[in-house]
Symmetry: C2
Subunit: 351 residues, 2 copies
Amino acid sequence: MATIKDLSLKCGVSVSTVSKALNGYKDIGEETKRNILKAANEIGYFPDSNARALKTKKTYNIGVLFSTMFNHGLRNEYFAHILASFNEYATGKGYDINFIEHNVGDRKMTFLEHCSYRNFDGVCIACCADFFDNEIQQVVNSKIPVVVIDHIYNEAISILSDNMEGMRQLTQYIIDQGHKRIAYIHGTNSSVTHNRLVSFYQVLRENGLTIPNEYVVEGIYRDSDTSGLLTQRLLDLQVPPTCIIAPDDYSALGVMNTIRRSGLRIPEDISVAGYDGISVAQALEPKLTTIRQDTDRIGTEAAKQLINLIERPMVTSISNVYLKVSLMKGSSVGYVTSTELNRPSRQSIVD
Amino acid sequence: MATIKDLSLKCGVSVSTVSKALNGYKDIGEETKRNILKAANEIGYFPDSNARALKTKKTYNIGVLFSTMFNHGLRNEYFAHILASFNEYATGKGYDINFIEHNVGDRKMTFLEHCSYRNFDGVCIACCADFFDNEIQQVVNSKIPVVVIDHIYNEAISILSDNMEGMRQLTQYIIDQGHKRIAYIHGTNSSVTHNRLVSFYQVLRENGLTIPNEYVVEGIYRDSDTSGLLTQRLLDLQVPPTCIIAPDDYSALGVMNTIRRSGLRIPEDISVAGYDGISVAQALEPKLTTIRQDTDRIGTEAAKQLINLIERPMVTSISNVYLKVSLMKGSSVGYVTSTELNRPSRQSIVD
DNA sequence: CTGAAAGCGCTTACAG
DNA sequence: CTGAAAGCGCTTACAG
């Protein structure tokens, strides 16, 4: 690759002058500057990123930290989509992205060590199996600018898909369709799960509904088999629910399969809802009733906030940004008629 | 971060000695070496990657090049899974991965410029909308070690999911189930599509089957709506097929929806097959008959070959590696009984 | 076995 | 307005 020295020879000026011209310093002659820029374009000159980083301590590299466990990381569609838009925004601002890993060759590094080894300008933490992991905390507590997705730390900017609001909209919609016996198979415990649960109960309460404890069970995100099994148990209850909310769209497939295997129809006999709004949910029939999380905006917003924090630390506040979700009505949640409402089995539950 | 100088002061030796000890040079005293290694571990010292790269021209960074178009890149499950395993292998060998992009900040770069700007040790090209793109060719023809997934260039190592073999197995299985009127909605033209088509026709011929031209139509990968529309046309034919092969599993959803909307059952009335073996295909009912592409091995193998090429260029041959696929029988392709075989409508087609 | 010195390709005070 | 010089943190011939 051509170096700054090649360019300086070609232009007949010193490397200092070239460097300043390229970096927009004011104290350079108009014509000199024009010449240098022209020559740089001609030979396709770009400053070597390593040399520049060594001097300036700025790499224009952002580290992305995520769990690589089964069903996590790149193999998780929700995260992969967020990463795609994160990358697109960052790239437009001149930042490349890197994955933060534990081991580099034969030596193990902590996440923070990896960050200083690579001199990342900032870090995005997302899709972690365990946000309380000690090594992750280290990164959050370091000097490196950090943005976190779907979790709140005091010390970092958080981008959150509005889970309280999402669950509120979904639950309210189901209730508005006449359902009173609503079951919720939720995902493994986390702050996301917690907020959804709180919101679920809250909306039930606001509508004067109570449900039996057996209607709320713990499943596993993105595990349709588990959700299928749990669905069977719900169907076997003496008074089964009229609607089942799955942990996510993918798991909803397991719920639907089990229901159909029992000879029941969706949504005529029993309704199903998901969460996420992944594409496959909309290719199913009936189309899944779900909450769409705006992965594009989550990724874009995370990148934007992080780059602001990197470039203008003093005017960027450490805040929590909640992103809107939207209800996708689909047709897997049916309308419960008043006849059904009068069934004794239901009455015994409602009050 | 601690520098090599800090470490040399702590150990009371020169930086040269520290550097050599850390890099496994032989001409260092046993005890000196032990001391240095111990101290390095204590303070969590890692050489600054930029400084090292500047001197050695080795970054331990691999660039990954892919299209970011709709339905491509990270938003494509097939590619995201390959990338995940590629990253896991590379990381274990000490390489981090970076995405290769067009624009860096306000200035546009060609892909090759981005590679030299970042000094990538090697490049993996995958999942491109257009492998004949001029900028991609530039990278392939450069001095940088390159591995390509699912496409063959003369100048680079190729890792290929065996599409000929996959399509062979799938088609043969369908024929073995008694089908003779098999339709194929294939994806947009590419070498992958071409090979699958060639193989499809070849197996038909080997089995003494011919199909009408209308049975082979061009769809779009991962576009279930288009596949749904094309399915409708196939169903409307005077002599419709008994089995439809979709471009991929995701598109198969569209095929299935259209079939069901027509009041037909799968597989009793008509059979469906996909391609890819993505997880959702196995969560459907009936389970989709499909070919599983081994994304784990593709990613791992690509990383392995690329790193070999980087580290031992003289003993690594530029070859094409074909990876095995496997048939997932599922239950969306049914058995066609002999009664059905004797139907006049079929006979008129077969010979 | 150890260390002084040069140099990788840049940027940036500083002097002129 | 321009350029010489120092230095970012390393590695690696080379000398001793």
